[in-house]
Symmetry: C2
Subunit: 191 residues, 2 copies
Amino acid sequence: MKNRIITISREFGSGGRTIGKKVAEMLKIPCYDSELIEKMAQESGFHKEYIKDVTEENSGGFLSILSSRAFGPNNEDYLWKIQCKIITEIAEKGPCVIVGRCADYILRDKADCLRVFIHADMSSRCERIVNVYGERDEAPETRIKNKDKRRAAYHRFYTNMKWGHAQNYDITLNSGTLGIDKCAEIVKNLY
Amino acid sequence: MKNRIITISREFGSGGRTIGKKVAEMLKIPCYDSELIEKMAQESGFHKEYIKDVTEENSGGFLSILSSRAFGPNNEDYLWKIQCKIITEIAEKGPCVIVGRCADYILRDKADCLRVFIHADMSSRCERIVNVYGERDEAPETRIKNKDKRRAAYHRFYTNMKWGHAQNYDITLNSGTLGIDKCAEIVKNLY
């Protein structure tokens, strides 16, 4: 029997990670988020920061995923394979929450997924990232736009799905208007 | 004080109308759907079937909304103005559910809206439209694709918003995987 997994995709600053942790706590199941990067580092031999850099959180320019394959698969492709393997193994172990990393796509035929997408308006996200991650030289809006652009491009490249398109999910929630606790409660009740 | 309105946008065959009716019944507030067409017919002098034809349910080819304005606004534009007026008046009267007709956009500054989008996978929608509306010469999938294309083009033209884009709503629900009753319950509880 396939395990029941909650996958949470999220816009940067929308609180998707916090919602994932809350849902997992309420349901008493594990939540995988940064643990995935650690597992990928162990498996690949690459450094955690490098993995963050070339995968979903890619800060090396979002077009890098579209180039440099003239001589075959590159490091992103290698890490994508490892990511698929790790997420599949986790899903086989038992019910859990997985935040980000295209888990909904990777598990589409391998688990019974509740596919969630969390988003919020720009002003709540700006407020949130400054509270959670602190001020940076770059304006919060610029940080958010860059991150979103990269996540969207990464998802599009590896999954061929439009990120944030309602039709790809079972439920999408606006944490800005509904609140983080309410979102967590709705997802928990749906499980 | 602004009234609390639930606006339901929906893919054809996703059961959005049924969900709207159920939510309104549970909350004991009115639900406006085909009543809007009747009001528009009274106000404009046009026949109901004609209104359906040139507005959201446009069957005259979805590109008609992009053309024929060389000599000023056309009948679609005239009906759009009437639609805006009627939806605004309804929202001023008191809390209610409004299905379709870009109500979320029309009321964006005029009411406290809970913006819902209902969708479902193609196979559940095909099954549903054959059950609800009966067989037609045209295959269910073709009927659905045509209707969706027209609704999306109509929305895009008058609202400049992408139809079905999660970011435009407070919540989007997949009635195919979650079930119509569950969707109605979630929306009711959010109100």
